[in-house]
Amino acid sequence: MSQPIVTFDKVNKWYGNDFHVLRDIDLSVAKGERIVICGPSGSGKSTLIRCINRLEEHQQGRLIVDGVELSDDVKAIDQVRKEVGMVFQQFNLFPHLTVLENLTLSPMWVGKTPKKEAEEKAMEQLQRVRIAEQASKYPLQLSGGQQQRVAIARALCLKPKIMLFDEPTSALDPEMIKEVLDVIIELANQGITMICVTHEMGFAKAVADRVIFMDQGQIVEQNNPNDFFNNPQNERSRDFLSKILGH
């Protein structure tokens, strides 16, 4: 197997002094692998992926992303963030900038790309998520599904090696979930490394190479989607699956 692109080695994290949110996480993600993380709320799923780009810091263990170990070193953090794109549950688009400006901000200010070139590349990404005609609108003028697709395009503008999705469809109206998932599935088929926290089990079956089930800060079970959904080994995963698939 090739060198893993993300490696968690006995990672521990606490919120405050007594809330142990990640317990002895061991996980390695291969290049191009597509992982879905699920589990009950409060189980540490979001915290886990937010550690990968250092939105949260871990207190024990080692976390290596694309050959760079994450620590307090600001340079290492900057380097990792260049390789990792992230899509949030609440979109987090910048409401005071147009769609196009949302996309060109980082290439122009961080990547020092000339404006014209940045805009051309941004339009390519907008076409990829099928929303190019909205480029001059402000985010609040778009529907939730459209906003989330813009957010995906914005993350893609950095040409990341890894994409993190933190419940990308949880804040959407049901009729908009599909348009966002379609875009993500398309991305998945293009070979980018992807780690996605989601409860969309159909989506997990369709794209995931591996499903990881977390509970109480631990990775309880991991398996390929087929076996995980049809034949969960752990009692807690069975319990969780019966709750979300029960009706």
């Binding site: 992230m86 609440q90 901000l105």
Partner: protein, 367 residues
């Protein structure tokens, strides 16, 4: 559950006519009996007061600068006092023959202030233009070069001093306030506590005491023979005072920015200062435009307090102009009304400008 069929709502009669004067009066002035009562009472009050005011301010007013005419029985406002004393009121103790200098300096200053308000002028060279205008202002006022006689700052006064104090202290207070507001939210405890102590100290004392300290106590701490011009000390005092309040207004805006905005900026690789400049401050400041303009306007009016440290700006020079002349002293009210209208002119313009800015910055919220 029964499948419900779609049932259109039956048409309703069209609403009554709501345009035109009569329908407007009916709905706004005589809608119900408390409104009608209020309309009648207020209308009677206005009918009683307005003619008297008009008669005093205009019809029976004396416009010529003659004390005798103003002293006659039954005359109204004595605007002659303004005609007689306007140069003293507007330019204070600045030497009479040299008063073209503050006039030119003020026109320059007001022009650049107005230009700075227009979007077309928001270019890098505006800063250079500001430096040039400030240089010209001080050169013309202070003199000592180019054959201009030297006029010390304690002779400066009136409207030029008001405009100078207000615009410079506002211009300097704003960046200080930005930094203090960011500092109070810093993750570094030292910076946070320095900023907090500064804000709490300044907010804990009245402006008058800050001015006293700047003007009388500060020189005591300085080594012998070392002096800073009182105008500059007062300017710094007002700036620090205004900045503390403005910092809290801005901090209010900063608090309202969701954490996700900063996180999104971080994942895009933006540095702390890039995030503040491009993401946080534009949104935070847009939210607190009314509060900031409040601060600007009150700073403008607060400059009238510098009279107590013997700098005679507009209010002070007005007092000076009339107190020194026993003949005209009784007509202070007219004098104060005159400078009040000048203050109003400036404050109202600022307030209108603030409305315009609000509209500009809220464009992205239009659907």
């Amino acid at each position: 559950m029964d499948a419900q069929t779609f049932q259109p709502i039956a048409p309703r009669p069209a609403p009554g006519k709501t345009e035109g004067l009569l329908p407007w009066m009916r709905s706004n002035l005589f809608g119900n009996w408390p409104t009608s009562l209020g309309t009648v009472v207020l209308g009677a009050l206005l009918l009683w007061l307005v003619p008297q005011m008009l008669s005093w301010t205009l019809l029976r007013a004396v416009w010529v600068p003659q004390v005798e005419a103003c002293r006659m029985d039954g005359v109204g406002a004595c605007w002659g006092v303004v005609a007689e004393k306007y140069r003293l009121i507007i330019f204070g103790r600045y030497p009479f023959d040299e008063q073209w200098r503050p006039l030119v300096a003020t026109v320059l200053m007001v022009s650049i202030l107005m230009a700075s308000c227009a979007r077309a002028f928001w270019k890098p060279w505006l800063a250079l233009l500001w430096l040039a205008v400030l240089g010209a202002f001080f050169t013309i006022m202070f003199g000592g070069v180019l054959g201009l006689s030297r006029i010390e700052t304690d002779r400066w006064g009136g409207l030029p001093l008001t405009i100078l104090l207000a615009s410079l202290s506002i211009a300097m207070a704003f960046p200080v306030a930005l930094l203090v507001a960011l500092g109070r939210r810093s993750s570094m405890p030292a910076i946070r506590s320095v900023c907090t102590v500064y804000v709490e100290l300044i907010r804990g004392v009245p402006l008058i005491s800050v001015l006293f300290m700047a003007s009388f106590m500060f020189p005591l701490f300085m080594p012998q023979g070392f002096t800073i011009d009182v105008l500059i000390r007062v300017l710094v005092g007002i700036t620090l005072f205004a900045a503390a309040y403005m910092a809290e207004v801005i901090r209010g805006g900063l608090q309202a920015i969701p954490k996700g905005q900063v996180e999104a900026a971080a994942t895009l690789g933006l540095s702390y200062w890039q995030t503040q400049r491009k993401i946080v401050l534009p949104q935070a400041l847009a939210m607190v435009v009314p509060g900031i303009m409040n601060g600007f306007i009150s700073t403008f009016k607060d400059t009238s307090l510098v009279t107590i440290v013997s700098l005679y700006e507009l209010t002070g020079s007005m007092g000076l102009a009339l107190n020194s002349d026993a003949e005209w002293r009784p007509f202070k009210i007219e004098g104060y009304l005159f400078i009040a209208s000048l203050y109003f002119l400036f404050c109202f313009s600022m307030s209108r400008y603030s409305h315009w800015v609000e509209k500009q910055v809220n464009k992205s919220k239009l659907r």
